[in-house]
């Protein structure tokens, strides 16, 4: 209950800021709200777009939230997601070229769709976990703070991606990979024709499944149960024989694994390739989702929908107020929720040092 209160306070603050922004630009808040509604939940296309944008957000949020439960800040979701996106797209387009090349020895096997998905899945997980393993080991072995190491690794990931694309992974003259071949069908293609034109695909269901799976791991595995204990009582856990370092590494690996699926919707459900700069900013948006979602899987999904609505709504409002205002609202939510959680703790009677 306490956590939800902080989130609600954050939303109220965002609402207040929205009103102030509207008035500052000489617009009527209510009018803007109507336009926002029409661009997001008012039409099926809008709903589809919101769902499409919510897909990577809920995964990024789940990735951050899982590590956060152990007191770890995985700010590296951005890098883990980007590398996994590039890697999975590269693997998929390579398989496609092998499948089309009659002279390649793996030609027959590569045409088999389940094999393709299996290899794509394996690549995604390996890269996501692998990139998260680095800060995990640095923390376990040297005590290096994961915020610093993950942010640095994000930049390194950017460089690797740029270099790889320039060295041949990209189609000549572009900054994107070749077509991935296999696709996750759009929702409009599997019978929900109302979503015609929208980018939303079955990746949405995959994302929701992963979020639920993460919640299941949290509740029903030893790792999931011990992480919050380690976060709030490290010494007692150590004294009781819990392998702290191993758990930290495991937590980061799971977080990285979830993060790896973030670009799924964009690469395999919409664009059909990986492009330089795809999903930029998703790491920080994921932090906002995790904080707003207050650690509950339903909360994560709702938070993702809220932030996706803001993002999509920003586009419709762009004529009236700049869409960057939505990013400001997102930042306000993070700050206010963080403040409110701390303020609630203080209000419950613990003395404040002078």
């Amino acid at each position: 209950m306490k956590a939800i209160t902080a989130s609600l306070v954050g939303l109220c603050a965002a609402w207040l800021a929205f009103n102030l922004a509207a008035l500052a630009y000489g617009e009527s808040p209510l009018q803007l709200l109507v336009i926002l509604y029409r661009g997001t939940w008012g039409t099926w296309y809008g709903v589809g777009q919101v769902l499409y944008k919510a897909t990577p957000l809920m995964l990024a949020g789940a990735a951050v939230a899982f590590a956060l439960r152990a007191g770890l800040f995985n700010v590296g979701v951005e890098g883990q997601a980007a590398l996994a996106g590039l890697g999975s797209a590269a693997m998929a387009s390579w398989l496609m070229s092998v499948a089309q090349n009659r002279f390649h020895k793996l030609h027959f096997v590569a045409q088999f769709v389940p094999v393709q998905w299996l290899l794509i899945l394996a690549t995604t997980l390996t890269i996501g976990c692998g990139w998260a393993l680095i800060p995990a080991l640095l923390k376990a072995r040297f005590g290096a703070h994961e915020v610093v190491s993950t942010i640095v690794l994000n930049r390194i990931a950017d460089a690797i991606i740029g270099f790889s694309l320039a060295s041949g992974l990209a189609l000549r003259g572009t900054v994107r990979t070749d077509d991935v071949g296999v696709h996750l069908p759009r929702l409009s293609a599997i019978g929900l024709s109302a979503f015609r034109g929208s980018a939303v695909s079955v990746a949405l269901f995959v994302a929701a499944a992963i979020v639920l799976l993460a919640a299941f791991v949290r509740r029903r595995t030893v790792l999931g149960r011990e992480l919050p204990l380690i976060a709030s009582g490290l010494r007692a856990c150590e004294a009781a024989g819990i392998p702290i370092k191993r758990r930290i590494v495991q937590a980061m690996l799971v977080s990285g694994a979830i993060a790896a699926f973030v670009p799924l919707g964009a690469v395999f459900g919409f664009k059909g390739y990986y492009e330089l700069g795809l999903g930029a900013g998703v790491g920080f948006a994921g932090i906002a989702v995790a904080i707003l979602g207050a650690g509950h899987p339903m909360g994560l999904v709702v938070a993702a929908l809220v932030l996706a609505t803001l993002e999509q709504g920003g586009l419709s409002l762009n004529g009236r107020i700049p869409m960057e205002v939505m990013e400001v609202l997102r930042a306000i939510i993070i700050i206010v929720v963080a403040w409110a959680s701390g303020a609630l703790k203080r209000a419950l009677g613990v003395a404040v040092p002078a």
Partner: protein, 506 residues
């Protein structure tokens, strides 16, 4: 002896004015009432005691006066003026200083830096005026009669000196009344005497001292006034000043004791002679820098060995070495699976934010696993079984462990260790089993420890409470300055133990 004369002089003064006045103070933590409607006054220019068993509310009450806690209801007045802001800064301004049981000194800084921390005199450009600071600090130390190298690092000082430094800090802040919370818990008998000498000197120079304690002999020897709390309520007040000025009944040890515990002192069970078998827990020349130099001892199955010694002599290092948290730099310890209960249950024993169930099963969740998933019903069942057999109240294992009383919290930690014993651990090491625990819970804990020992476990109990060790242990070893200096019969007197703890031979 100076002490006796000084205290007679202090007692001869009239205690007219009240330095701290509590009126209807009430304070609860997470639903548990710690202080229940207490109205009492503490006199000026005197050494007063606030007595009570662990958990009676003594510390909580005084922390309200020191600005560390805000009472839920009621008022606190210092020198007749009500305290409006409950912050340490305001309390300092009003002249109240508190020396807590666990010192708030910073080890890395020097003595002078610690004394002036937070109230450094500044020169015009915001720089610290060290000469002035030194002069003021020296004045405080002189008043205390304490000589220490102001530039020595605090972590190098021994416990008695650290405590005096804390008092010097209070004097530096011109504290009118200094509250000390369980100051003698970490002192040898000799250090206790010299502490009280220093405190009485301060009283004779016009300050007021309040000592929160449960040590009755000290009260009768040094106190001018004593108030007794039990379960958060004021039970009785005693006055030890000389007859013409006395306004309240004088108290004897027996009267104080029965007021504190509500009945005629706990009857001590005659200890049943235990037959010990072969050695189980063997330490051989264990050395863990910086404070443990040579620990050698053998504890046999079926016996309870006490390890007496005040904090700072290597206890923590010894515990960590036995528990496997620290590797000794030399020496051997066998066996490796020892059920441990560490000294600081708040940080080393319990995860305070978690539930009772989580704490009971801490580190042991693997027992309830099916494949890679946890069988929640099995885990709940195991936790409830442990809770019931250890009589932990309340029975709801999903409640937060932080809401339990000190006694029940300790039961959780001990129950977990006893469970390990049930599942095969051959040795049990417990540090401070009854610290912060009320009398009934303490009796229950010792009963469980004794029962476990009788099944053939080798038990080692570390404690600074000699009486407790005398009552329950088959023999008592002494840890002094990093060495186990020998094991002795429990029949030695306090003074004899005190000398041994200081490192003197028998």
């Amino acid at each position: 002896m100076y002490g006796v004369a000084g205290c007679a002089a202090a007692r001869a003064k009239r205690c007219w004015l009240d330095v701290i006045a509590f009126s209807g103070v009430k304070k609860s933590f997470a639903g548990a009432v710690a202080v229940d409607d207490v109205t009492v006054n503490l006199p000026d220019h005197a050494l007063s005691f606030v007595l009570g068993e662990n958990g009676a509310g003594k510390s909580t009450l005084l922390r309200c006066a020191a600005g560390l806690l805000r009472p839920d209801r009621g008022a606190v007045a210092i020198d007749g003026a009500e305290l409006t802001e409950f912050t340490p800064r305001e309390a300092t301004r009003r002249g109240v200083a508190m020396v807590e049981q666990h010192f708030s000194l910073i080890g890395d800084l020097t003595a002078i830096e610690n004394v002036v921390l937070g109230l450094e005199p500044s020169s015009p450009f915001g720089r610290i005026d060290w000469p002035l600071a030194r002069m003021k600090a020296k004045k405080a130390l002189d008043e205390l009669g304490f000589n220490v190298d102001l530039d020595s690092r605090v972590e190098r000082l021994d416990v008695g000196d650290k405590q005096r430094l804390e008092i010097a800090r209070a004097l530096y802040r011109d504290a009118r009344v200094i509250v000390l919370d369980e100051p003698t818990a970490v002192l040898t008998p000799q250090e206790t005497t010299s502490l009280y000498d220093a405190l009485l000197t301060l009283v004779s120079r016009g300050r007021s001292i309040v000592v929160v304690s449960h040590k009755l002999d000290e009260v009768v020897k040094y106190g001018a006034r004593a108030i007794v709390l039990r379960r958060g309520k004021l039970v009785k007040e005693f006055d030890f000043t000389s007859a013409p000025y006395r306004s309240l009944p004088v108290g004897s040890l027996a009267e104080l004791s029965s007021a504190m515990m509500g009945r005629e002192g706990a009857a001590t069970r005659p200890r049943i002679g235990r037959t010990a078998l072969g050695p189980v827990l063997c330490l051989s020349h264990v050395c863990v820098p910086p404070r443990l130099h040579d620990a050698t001892i053998e504890i046999r199955a079926g016996e309870i060995v006490g390890l007496a010694g005040v904090e700072g002599n290597g206890q923590q290092e010894l515990l960590e070495a036995i528990g496997g948290l620290t590797k000794p730099s030399s020496g051997t310890i066998a066996p490796s699976d020892v059920a441990m209960v560490y000294g600081d249950r708040n940080t080393e024993g319990l995860v305070m934010d978690a539930s009772v169930e989580d704490n009971l099963l801490l580190g042991d969740l693997g027992q309830s696993v099916v494949g890679i998933f946890i069988d929640e019903t099995d885990a709940r069942r195991r936790a409830e079984a442990i809770a019931t057999s250890s009589a932990i109240a309340p029975h709801d294992v999903t409640s937060s462990v932080g809401a339990l009383s000190g006694g029940n919290q300790q039961k959780v930690v001990v129950a977990r260790a006893l469970h390990e014993v049930e599942r095969g651990a051959k040795a049990l090491v417990i540090a401070h089993p009854t610290r912060g625990v009320d009398v009934e819970a303490a009796a229950s804990l010792w009963e469980q420890i004794e029962r476990a020992t009788e099944t053939g476990v080798a038990t080692l109990v570390l404690s600074a409470d000699l009486n407790e060790l005398r009552t329950h242990c088959d023999r008592i070893a002494i840890l002094s300055k990093g060495r186990i200096v020998g094991t002795y019969e429990p029949t030695l007197s306090d003074e004899e133990f005190g000398v041994l703890m200081l490192g003197g031979g028998t």
